[in-house]
């Protein structure tokens, strides 16, 4: 499955008022190009921090399901944050990782996730429910299932590295991203 296809499966399953924190790089660009939403927080830098930002939102908005859409490079940069999420254990946190095994937006240099199973790290850290999907047809049912179960939950989606570099960049300014997100999240 291509990264774009994973997003095409996922995005329609997210409700308008559900906060989604996106990792930088192609994760942001792909999601922005397919379906821009006010409750999307797009990171243009600060690699590795989508997970801790998502944790902060989840702890302060326990009534909302908070989704983090992360990448393998981002997760590897902040493995310690998996422990923070597991230790605080917010039931409303859902961590989705699009794993293409490369740093695609910088030229597809290999990451370590071809050799290290990130979902096993999440599981042993203490995430409540952890799934790994490799087929496109499994994305929808597993995403919906994990979204409903009390978390913190972790869904790893293996994808092929085939990001279309003509995909635009996020056009909102960083300040606009902050304002819209805060307004949408309330």
């Amino acid at each position: 499955m291509k990264g774009t296809e994973a997003f095409q499966e996922l995005l329609p399953l997210i409700k308008d008022d559900e906060p989604v924190v996106h990792a930088n790089g192609f994760i942001c660009r792909e999601s922005f190009a397919l379906k821009d939403r006010k409750a999307n927080f797009y990171m243009i830098g600060s690699m590795g921090l989508a997970s801790s930002i998502g944790l902060g939102v989840a702890l302060c908005k326990p009534e909302k399901k908070v989704i983090i859409i992360d990448g393998d490079g981002n997760v590897l940069m902040a493995l310690g944050t998996l422990a923070m999420i597991a230790a605080e254990a917010p039931e409303n946190l859902f961590h989705v990782v699009i794993d293409n095994e490369v740093y695609e937006s910088t030229g597809s240099q290999r990451s370590l996730s071809g050799k290290v199973q990130l979902e096993e790290i999440a599981k042993s850290s203490g995430y409540k429910n952890v799934f790994r999907v490799e087929k496109k047809e499994d994305v929808k049912p597993q995403f919906l299932r994990l979204k409903e179960l009390p978390g913190p939950n972790f869904l790893l989606i293996k994808v092929e590295p085939c990001f279309d570099h003509s995909t635009g960049r996020v056009t909102h300014t960083p300040e606009e991203i902050t304002e819209r997100f805060m307004e949408a999240v309330g």
Partner: protein
């Protein structure tokens, strides 16, 4: 009895509506962190690294809280990219309480260089700070409130050795 104690300072921060705390410990801040752990109205979340603490504070702010991060000045290196590529450009404020190890070159070797350059690093990044002392608590918190509330930027309070009790 000193007028500013770990207990009185934490109470004061809670009065100012700072109720979400995270950070990485420093012995100079140990009294503050133990006080925080005892509070009903505030929560302290241990962070694994200073940049993760900045991320956590960012999320808390986006969800309506007034976050505070505690760290040793050694953590400034880890968190500087988060401040420059996230908080300063997205206008996401937080209160930073940073201990000053390596003051006047009198400390363990690993603290000497950072103790000398940390204020310059903050200045270069355009991040305002104040040196907290026994007598200026009200005025520096006022400055922080302005920076955080109006300009929506981080503000740092620097804590020297001996200002708060150490519990270790």
């Amino acid at each position: 009895m000193p007028s500013l104690t770990s207990q009185s300072f934490i109470k004061r921060l809670i009065q100012e509506d700072y109720k979400f705390f995270t950070g990485v410990p420093c012995s100079l801040l140990s009294g503050l962190i133990y006080e925080l752990e005892d509070q009903q109205e505030a929560r302290y979340i241990p962070a694994v690294r200073e940049d993760a603490a900045v991320g956590l504070c960012t999320g808390a702010y986006l969800a309506g809280a007034r976050p505070v991060m505690l760290m040793q000045n050694s953590g400034l290196g880890y968190s500087l990219n988060a401040f420059t590529s996230l908080n300063l450009i997205y206008h996401i404020p937080m209160l930073v309480i940073m201990s000053w190890r390596g003051k006047d070159g009198k400390d363990a070797p690993e603290h000497i260089i950072m103790g000398d350059i940390d204020k310059q690093l903050l200045q270069t990044a355009g991040m305002e700070y104040s040196l907290l002392n026994e007598g200026n608590c009200d005025s520096v918190l006022q400055k922080a409130k302005k920076k955080i509330g109006e300009e929506k930027l981080p503000y740092t309070l620097i804590v020297e050795k001996g200002l708060f009790d150490e519990r270790h």
